[in-house]
Symmetry: C2
Subunit: 337 residues, 2 copies
DNA sequence: CTGAAAGCGCTAACAG
DNA sequence: CTGTTAGCGCTTTCAG
């Protein structure tokens, strides 16, 4: 293994000089710098991560805590995770992947050991068990999601209330008057991750001011469950002409079942989805949708957490502005009668 | 920050004793051990990762290199990654997530810096650019996938040839004589990840000995592309009664299109998929399938890589036995005529 | 603009 | 069964 001392010797300078060439924390003459850099290249030197961490008490690692239940939202979560890792690298940070498995204890372990300089938590619940430990640790952290109490925390999330509102607005603008919302599985509401509630709350508020009638039905995904939900909706509200879906696994079944029921999309029924771009685009119909901006969430999370590590930022709540993209699944409400 | 020295002092023992209590590398009297453990708990001590890595030249971190193109196979890859992280933790290892973005250079960086004790590479291509660096580094590594040249490497993968063979066998056993294979997108074959070729090779070989006629068509996923592929297949081979699909994004479109074409599954047409369990189970028809055993691959990868770190194992190629699960998409070939 | 030297917190001989 | 001690490779004062 080639060490900093080896490089120093090879270059005919002191160890500290090499260190400073690497960190750029003090001015080095061009000649010296070049000599050192040549030696580094020739010897194939790589600074030892452990030694560096010990001496500087900085690991240059960000811990990323994945959701507890990896059964849902896999694509978005994956996209966010990858984007976080990629973006973090561009700032010189690596990302350590923690699974939900280990539970809140992971926070203590990672933070206590100095393994990571900071944490990013995904899939935050309203009363998340990890938060007390986090606050108490005083370590830099960013949450993706919005817990009940955000004081002392930095959070990044989509403004789901506004996302819901946009859906209502779009359908209202097309002349729809009766709309049905197909929500996440009941389990999601029970877990209290918050985003599902925020969506329907925002949607309802805007719907009210626009004079829309709204029926909300949480639903499991898959064809069988959706068939039931759909039948129920049309029995209860036969004049429903607009659907809003917020459930990745319900999207394609919904479209398929409408087709089976001889309801043309978008001629008879308009559908708006709140889902990842990919899901909206790859199905049998290109869906009008509000996307979950995974990359942008990742970007904000990384940049804020690094700002915190470097003591350049305090706590704040960042709600990303949703955007509705019109595609082939929504159109003017059919002329009633 | 509370250090090992603090614990030692608090417990009235030497630093090394505390260290040995932690590592279990020498016998400690029950009294001493207890006193030390109490002190650790009372002070809330956590060993410093950097110091540990420096002194022991072991980081207890495994680097996991994700695929270059995260556009495909997202669910399987994610499942494998999560399973690797979870399983690694149970052996006291953390997992560092490297994206494909950084390229082969990441191998050099991680290995050179001692950041990780070993690497696991996902989505290995036949002539993978990371392999030369890996071999030359001499660091413990496990590949998920099978490159062209495996000497000096440990590889874990599904036996895709046998998976293909099982599909042929299953359809032949049901009396099918003409089968069509819908493969991955042409790009996948061009990338030379190998698994797609191995599947079709294995399938063809078995088909030959069973007297099956096979038509192989790589295809993009999605409805539009599949509609074209399907039309072509039925034009070329109108008597096709069995389908094998190896393309996550083509599965649901295939089923939907067959239904649209008034071909009943499984009465007229049988479909066998090579895909993740989840995809096989959650669509509109429960598919007979050969699953990609993500968990098991993760388990093998982790256990082998740790065995290598601890110098308890050499190189080897592990091909997991595929299993075909019969579900609702396959049945006896229709009586011809 | 550069060196010398003192640790960072832990592990692992070596010594008893 | 336990203690003493010499580093691991780097960063960062302090000194010039």
């Amino acid at each position: 293994m080639v060490t900093l001392a080896d490089v120093a010797q090879h270059a005919g300078v002191s160890a500290s000089t090499v260190s400073y060439v690497l960190s750029g924390k003090r001015t080095i003459s061009a000649v010296t710098r070049e000599r050192v850099e040549r030696s580094i290249a020739e010897l194939g030197y790589h600074p030892n991560a452990g030694a560096r961490a010990l001496a500087s008490s900085r690991s240059n690692i960000i811990a990323l805590m994945m959701p507890l239940r990896m059964d849902m939202y896999v694509p978005v979560m994956t996209e966010i995770a990858i984007a976080i890792a990629t973006h973090a690298r561009s700032f010189g940070y690596d990302v350590l992947m923690l699974t939900g498995e280990e539970g809140p204890e992971a926070v203590r372990r990672v933070v206590g050991s100095g393994l990571a300089d900071a944490m990013i938590l995904m899939d935050v619940e309203l009363e998340d068990a990890r938060l007390p430990l986090l606050r108490q640790s005083g370590r830099p952290a960013v949450l993706i999601g919005l817990p009940a109490e955000t004081t002392g925390l930095t959070c990044v999330d989509l403004d789901f209330a506004e996302a819901g509102a946009l859906c209502a607005e779009h359908l209202a603008g097309l002349g729809h008057r009766e709309i049905a919302v197909i929500g996440e599985a009941p389990a999601v509401y029970e877990r209290r991750t918050g985003f599902a509630e925020r969506t329907i709350d925002g949607l309802r508020a805007r719907a009210r001011s626009l004079g829309l009638r709204v029926l909300h039905r949480p639903s499991e995904g898959g064809y069988a469950a959706m068939a039931g939900t759909l039948a129920q909706i049309f029995t209860e509200r036969p004049d429903t002409t607009g659907f809003v879906v917020q459930n990745e696994t319900a999207v394609e079944p919904l479209i398929g079942l409408l087709r089976q029921n001889r309801r043309a999309v978008p001629e008879d029924i308009s559908v708006v989805a709140v889902c990842p771009e990919q899901v909206a685009v790859q199905g049998s119909v290109r869906l009008t949708s509000v996307a979950v901006p995974a990359r942008e969430m990742a970007r904000h999370a990384v940049e804020h957490v690094i700002a915190k590590i470097e003591d350049r930022a305090g706590d704040q709540v960042v709600l990303l502005e949703p955007e509705l993209t019109v595609r082939a699944s929504s159109g003017p409400a059919p002329v009633s009668g």
